[in-house]
Symmetry: C2
């Protein structure tokens, strides 16, 4: 295959940016340190981020001109340091991106300061009691006409701003969300800029910042809980793109429905989901590179009884790792397409939210599977911190929850899906080669068109069954729709969102396949995408058989085809992992290099002074 | 249900031991600390272990009289401190248990010292290059007739003893495994006791101990790499129960086959697997307790739009957590039975290895699933170290690899299975209520007898297909059996081992069901075991449909039955989790108690000074 073409397609951005990143990551600051105090971990993460911003390789203004550039930054940082990547996503997307989206002329002074970290921001949305249902948050901004200020308060324990990244060590500003009270009326959730530290980095009066301490991972991220007591903020610090308060205390908004204002001001969560997906996609590629590279050099027992056989050669190893490689490359392909639709959504505006949500869910859960499996298949070496699987796994966990719990986002996807179909903005997928009544006659399912039709069939079936149940329960039996959704049809909702995401991903893969130039590259991609789709159909085979769209004989043959498909991919694995754009020089994992040599000298689990 | 009866059955040991453990764990030493240096984490783990041994609640001699007592200790330590539990399993099982099993009269002085930690041991089996295929290890003991000593060497980088628990901080002795060279002949792998530190805890001459540093978790365990250079050990330090060297240098062994000696001296790995399973089973119970208890008090949005509904009420939460609860209680039931068969194997000697291996595999992987899901369903709170999911997850990862990689053990299970059937020591399971030709007519699969027959059908089918393939490839086509097993039939092998383990677990569950006294308790157990088996059949539904033992209509009805089954269990969940014998007073997780109150005062992620 043409490794360059493969790598460029996986890169998902202008490939000319790649050498800049590769050279930036040569800086020794990206060498990880492990046994260091918590505070040093945080400073380390900050200094890595500072190295990136000093290189002027990205800007918050990219959201206007080249949002993909920001996602690319996340993909690299997810590989080299998930903590620094998390600090970055808060600075550039949640904080910076929100300021970009919600600000007006009067806030422009912030942009260069965000880019060079002279303003380090945090994003104070989540409250202890409102991690879900944030629209009901208790933080208030009361407008004081006399002084033309907002008075910010977190009036209860439950309303402390919780999990606030960058707050403990580095932030001097915060974008705070709260119920906006003007002339005694709650005008809904808005955002104000609050200075939280002075020039000496002491907390401002009325601001209390509590360190949240040790987490299961990403300890380079300084998460804190923030309390505000009568903190006064100038009127102009309100982010007033969509709503504003006049000096005299008149509230105006282009959004009349008060709860809707919440969604308007928190829309950065949307690009945030692509940022999280990007961090995790990067980590996935690194994880697979490390796990497979190690398997290719680690020796296990061979037919002679001697330790002379790379464990990669075992079918066990290949059957565990290669379906995940196929799924990862396929989701990467879909992720790239979704990034570009986000950047240029013309004609797809109504689908962007669904796409960003499902992209995060599928990519993050896939990282979890990849990290767990690579760790397990790398045995003891996989358990050492310096071989990195642990931190990628922790990133997956952070990703599942951050910017919206995956399972809750799946519900959001389905609601939008039903809404779009109901409003005729979009329809259900159309089965192509094989309409439903043809499928049961297909003897060989291992064909991309057949597989795509199977995925579509499942999606359509799940959609229809959900709509039928909701109609019956809510329209006929007059049950409360919220209750039916929450208490009766959860599996249907979750499965439908997944079916939508996977079908769409496969379609994006096929689109790319058609435009791949080199015939060998095309073949490798086809092998990968076929395995991706087959693995999905295998998982849901009970569904297909019980719906009689697959015959028993075809199912048996299909089950047997999987190891053959894995074997076909196994011959290309080395080329594939070397084309994942992993900055190998900045990964510093003993097991991708001469791990025996690494263990010749004492390194105490560290890599700083090791030759790798 | 009768919570006492339920709890006693889950406890799996004499329930009179429970209050002793509960009261021991009241000691404040079991309060965890998080943001402390690596060395303090290790000392903490040691002091917890010391507290346990000071209570004289267990002894290495229990392996002779009451091995279950040792497993019970592991179950408690898995809940309160996986690091201390890991140090304990090395001291009492791998080191102490090996000494118990391989020693003769001349080593008896060690037993009381192992019990009171005046001898702290390590188990030097694994080498850097021989984590798998340990029988080919490179460490040597050369017998020197002149001085009547063994000379111990790790001659190469690859032969350094790797991952050695207790070695960096606390051990003064090691049980070292190596190729035993007597009069120039390699007599295979044996074990010698080596003093590695003097009374001042300085390393003995020729012994070098390198700290392995930070791992993804269990950092309270002091893992090191050990190098031996011409270390002299008295002849009497050879563990000589099965093999011995006379003063004059004559090697004698009751095992004539040299490679077999390896399995004889490493047999503690067998009880070790039950120890690992016990640590993980304990952790599983605690994990479920924490995750479900939190869900029952954490409020999310309700029909009114207010945050007034415990997230436990959501079907999403129940469908995610309760099948895992069912599987965990069922595997716990099987685990208890296997512990007791290990203690009294009469008539089952040929199955003990299979049982111990599969118990570890199923229990450990289940802990991984439980920890991942509880963490995810607990959102951000689940990510804080003090809520413990992270460390339980890390324990699962350690467990997958320790005492034999799970996937490799699955191969061992299948080899023993085929050997036992071949030697007519045991047969294939017999289908009971519903022989194969009856199954397709069963309209309702939700019946324990039907489910058991389905599990048996799959096991028998997988067994026969594996044997048929091996016969064809090896006997007819003369292929090398090792190569066929490693390169061609991996999925069949892995699926068969799993099918065997799950079918056996369900049978053990049914046995217990028959002897459960209280009718309500029995009902709850039946609900749990049915969900456990249903979940398995659902996962493999494609297999059952393609083999035409389940009709399409039965399959559809069955898929729809799962949420109903979950709902049925949901009403008993509180009673069930409160009957898991979790020492709640020693878990110290803010989210099982008043987590809002915990967040009222700054605790910096710690629990030491918190009211919980």
């Amino acid at each position: 295959m043409d490794k360059q073409e493969f790598a460029d397609l996986i890169f998902g951005d202008n490939p000319q940016k790649r050498p800049k990143w590769f050279s930036l990551l040569e800086d020794p600051i990206f060498k990880p340190r492990y046994n260091i105090p918590l505070n040093d971990q945080r400073q380390d993460a900050y200094h890595k981020l500072k190295k990136v911003t000093d290189a002027k390789i990205m800007s918050v203004l990219d959201f206007g001109s080249d949002p993909t550039n920001i996602f690319t930054a996340h993909e690299f940082m997810g590989q080299v340091d998930p903590s620094a990547g998390t600090k970055m996503t808060v600075q550039f997307n949640l904080f910076g991106g929100s300021v970009f989206a919600l600000s007006t002329e009067r806030h422009r002074w912030l942009f260069p300061k965000i880019d060079d970290l002279s303003v380090v921001g945090c994003f104070c949305l989540t409250e202890l009691g409102y991690g879900n249902n944030a629209v009901k948050m208790e933080t208030t901004f009361v407008y004081d006409e006399a002084t033309k200020e907002f008075i910010v308060n977190t009036p209860t324990t439950k309303s402390q701003k919780y999990w606030i990244t960058n707050s403990v060590n580095h932030a001097n500003y915060a974008l705070v969300f709260g119920q906006t009270i003007v002339k005694g009326k709650n005008e809904g959730v808005n955002a104000v800029l609050v200075r939280i530290r002075d020039d000496k980095m002491d907390a401002m009066p009325g601001v209390r910042i509590v360190d949240m301490g040790i987490k299961m991972g990403l300890n380079g991220v300084d998460n804190g809980a923030l309390f505000f007591k009568d903190v006064r903020v100038p009127r102009e610090y309100l982010m007033n793109r969509y709503s504003d308060v006049s000096e005299g205390g008149v509230f105006k908004s282009e959004t009349q429905n008060i709860p809707s204002r919440f969604f308007k001001v928190t829309e950065r969560l949307l690009s945030g989901r692509l940022c999280i997906a990007s961090l995790c996609m990067g980590a996935t590629r690194a994880c697979l590179y490390i796990g497979i590279k190690y398997a290719m050099q680690r020796l296990g027992v061979g037919a002679s009884g001697l330790s002379d056989t790379p464990i990669y050669d075992y079918q066990l190893q290949q059957n565990a790792l290669l379906p995940l490689l196929a799924r990862s490359v396929s989701l990467n392909t879909a992720h790239n397409r979704i990034k570009s639709i986000f950047a240029h959504p013309i004609g797809k505006e109504h689908e962007v939210l669904m796409m960003c949500c499902i992209d995060k869910c599928l990519v993050v859960w896939n990282l979890n599977a990849v990290a767990v499996t690579c760790r397990e298949r790398s045995g003891g070496q996989g358990f050492l911190a310096c071989n990195r699987f642990g931190e990628y796994l922790n990133l997956a966990h952070a990703g599942m929850t951050a910017e919206g719990d995956n399972r809750v986002l799946m519900i959001k996807v389905v609601k939008d899906y039903m809404g779009n179909v109901g409003a005729k903005k979009s329809g259900l997928p159309k089965m192509g080669m094989c309409p439903k009544n043809q499928l049961p006659k297909v003897p060989n399912l291992v064909d991309l068109n057949v597989l795509l039709d199977l995925l579509k069939f499942r999606e359509i079936t799940l959609f229809k069954s959900l709509v039928a149940t909701l109609d019956q329960r809510c329209k006929v039996e007059k049950a409360n729709q919220f209750e039916v959704l929450q208490y009766e049809v959860s599996d249907n909702v979750q499965s439908l969102a997944q079916a939508y995401g996977e079908r769409q991903a496969l379609e994006f893969c096929l689109d790319q396949l058609h435009s791949t130039k080199n015939a060998d590259t095309k073949k490798v991609f086809a092998t990968i995408f076929t395995l991706f789709a087959s693995d999905i159909v295998l998982r849901d085979l009970g569904f297909y058989l019980s719906h009689q769209v697959v015959s028993q004989d075809a199912a048996k043959a299909f089950i047997n085809s999987l190891p053959t498909q894995v074997k076909a991919l196994s011959f290309h694995t080395k080329d594939v992992i070397e084309s994942l754009n992993v900055p190998v020089h900045a990964i510093y994992t003993p097991i991708v290099g001469d791990y025996v040599g690494y263990n010749q000298e004492p390194h105490f689990g560290e890599v700083v002074n090791a030759k790798l």
